[in-house]
């Protein structure tokens, strides 16, 4: 082809000058092809990209082209200008069509990303946690959080705050409970003007303490939640004493009794919900649940407004406030030590947090299965399943159902498959209050012998994608599931390119 002496003109400005209207030539001329290149091929909204053509033909053919673009605008000289603003990534097709032969054209694609107005990335470290711990910490992702007295420069930076997509709101372990936090924050008050206290129940324990107001800053990401209600977690030796209606909701201990019981200096709940309790703790509920308390005269449960409740800090951001993307790298079978990842704020709000090819799994925002989707395994559906970065393994079903034996003591809370790794597959599917939503989508995962995992590499590994344990009747896809996946958690009633939250996506 090239030996035929075809006319090459690179850059449409040159083309216009060099060839101009001289194309009317001989009848024998033909156009063979038109190719287009644009540089740069990735830009942000409002920016430009220069496109050029390579027109091939025979005889005294014309190199003149006409330009079109599927979005934005393009000049006669091939200068593409992206739309001025947008908050999702856009793929624009630029087309150059030969004026001599309009059946001949070429295209090029330009990616237009949202303008990154701020940083929105806070580092995650999956390490052995804050010392001292009475047992080894694995599969816990930690971030650093700065809390300040609202509207002041009186601040404290707290490291090793557990990243938890399974709860909502920031909880800080007080120094009385062995944590770092010792800042004096103003109390959140209840509707009687008294300090508001809270009991937050997790599966294996509870946290108790007053609700305070703080400006929460993620300094690396540059995001801030102003005057956010947070929980200050105190030990059982603190005052006021834990009400029995709090502690009897679980068979577990007060997690605020020690650093080892808490496992972190705080819990950063960036989960599916705007507040930790929601409507069930407001007067709309009809009965007062044992979550928020007024202890001015003995501790009694009280109603709160939504605004008084401990609130998901992401929901309080000025931007990037519709959810989070958690990125932790793939770790090899056998595990790795101290991998680093990213907590990226917002979904589809900037160039680095688009949903890309992720599938969306919607979950109910209320009801007994709030926050749960459907995992199906070996033909049985488990509609009480969920994704939760705060759980440190993949917890699913039981040995009778899976055929996977438990490890020998002392690791008998974990699975030890006889063939390791044990390669498994399930499906995940969204659900609403009315039932299943969307298609079941296969998910592959592997479980390795936990006793071996914990002893490999001198017992120093902290991150395992193949760590599993039992959970009769459901799947809890904990941090082990996150390695090597982009996992999104969208906040209820917030708009995203994948629709309204709450949902999980990966």
């Amino acid at each position: 082809m090239r030996r035929l002496g075809i006319l090459l003109v690179v850059g449409s400005l040159m083309l216009m000058v060099a060839c101009g209207s001289s194309s009317g030539g001989g009848n024998a001329s033909t156009i063979t092809s038109v190719t287009v290149t644009c540089s740069p091929s990735t830009i942000t909204y409002g920016q430009t990209s220069q496109c050029s053509t390579l027109v091939s033909g025979t005889g005294n053919f014309s190199s003149a082209v006409t330009w079109t673009a599927s979005a934005g605008s393009i000049s006669t000289s091939g200068l593409f200008t992206a739309p001025s603003a947008g908050n999702v990534s856009l793929l624009v097709t630029v087309t150059a069509t030969s004026t001599q032969d309009t059946s001949k054209s070429g295209t090029s694609t330009i990616t237009v990303n949202p303008v990154q107005t701020t940083g929105n990335v806070q580092p995650i470290i999956v390490d052995s946690g804050p010392a001292p711990q009475s047992f080894a910490t694995v599969n816990e992702g930690f971030v650093t959080v700065t809390v300040c007295v609202p509207n002041s420069t009186t601040c404290q930076t707290i490291d090793h705050v557990l990243l938890d997509t399974g709860s909502s709101g920031l909880r800080l372990l007080s120094s009385a409970g062995g944590g770092e936090f010792n800042l004096s924050l103003p109390n959140q008050v209840d509707s009687s003007g008294n300090p508001l206290l809270e009991c937050e129940v997790f599966l294996d324990g509870f946290t108790w303490g007053n609700v305070a107001l703080a400006d929460i800053t993620f300094t690396v990401a540059g995001e801030k939640a102003s005057s956010a209600p947070v929980q200050v977690v105190i030990p059982s030796s603190g005052s006021p004493a834990v009400p029995s209606s709090c502690s009897t909701q679980t068979t577990g201990p007060n997690e605020g009794n020690s650093l080892s019981a808490f496992g972190a200096n705080g819990i950063l709940g960036v989960g599916l919900f705007q507040q930790d309790c929601g409507l069930a703790c407001t007067a709309a509920n009809g009965t007062v649940p044992p979550q928020y308390y007024d202890c001015s005269s003995g501790c009694k449960p009280v109603y709160t407004t939504l605004a008084q409740q401990v609130t998901n800090p992401v929901f309080l951001f000025a931007i990037d406030n519709n959810g989070v993307l958690v990125q932790v790298p793939a770790v090899p079978d056998g595990g790795s030590q101290n991998p680093a990842g990213s907590l990226i704020f917002g979904i589809g709000t900037q160039s680095n947090n688009g949903l890309e090819s992720a599938n969306v799994y919607v979950v109910p925002d209320s009801g007994n299965n709030a926050g749960n989707f459907i995992t199906a395994f070996n033909g049985t559906s488990y509609p009480q399943s969920f994704i939760d970065s705060g759980s440190n393994g993949i917890f699913f079903l039981d040995s009778n159902t899976t055929g996977i034996p438990l490890c020998a003591k002392p690791n008998n809370s974990w699975y030890c498959p006889t063939t390791s790794p044990d390669n498994l597959s399930a499906t995940n599917q969204g659900q609403t209050l009315q039932g299943p939503a969307g298609s079941p989508i296969p998910v592959n995962f592997s479980i390795e012998d936990a006793t071996t995992l914990f002893s490999d590499n001198g017992g120093n590994n902290t991150a395992f994608s193949t760590l599993g344990g039992p959970q009769p009747g459901a799947f809890d896809w904990g941090l082990a599931f996150f390695f090597g996946r982009n996992v999104y958690t969208a906040i209820e009633n917030q708009s995203t390119p994948g629709g309204l939250g709450p949902y999980f996506a990966y």
Partner: protein, 166 residues
Amino acid sequence: MNSFRLAAICSHRATSILLSLLILVLPFPARAVLGDTAASVLSDQARMKGTLRSVDNRTYVMHEITSPSGSAVREFVSPQGAVFGVAWEGQFAPDLQQLLGPYYRQAQLAAASQQDASKQPRPRRAPIAIETPGLVVYETGHPRSFHGQAYIPQLVPSGVQASDIR
């Protein structure tokens, strides 16, 4: 075998009738629960201000108390009249001390004993699975959605599966 089964059904029918009578007769029955008699169902209903639905499953009777918010506690009564299992689901876990009665302390101790002196990693913010010869407790979920079950293996009628206690 057949005669035994018949006797069991008769006994169970008697329990149902007795329970109905108790509902009518006893305004404030003594509190009680797992391992206790069917009368404890009523105290739970009163405390939870819930609606009661009873289902006859032939090998047991299931009494379900549903609160106005939709959370539910289910109590499983054997033909002999014992509450052999309980299950719960909702935004909040119920008062487990009330529901498990004397077994609550046992469950606490069993949970604590799982935390042995070993430095090995443990499940964290993870499901509860207590399996002792005299008591089984499972709980799954996260804040805003709790699902649990507890039963006394020795009291579970023959033919009833653990997975029925939900």
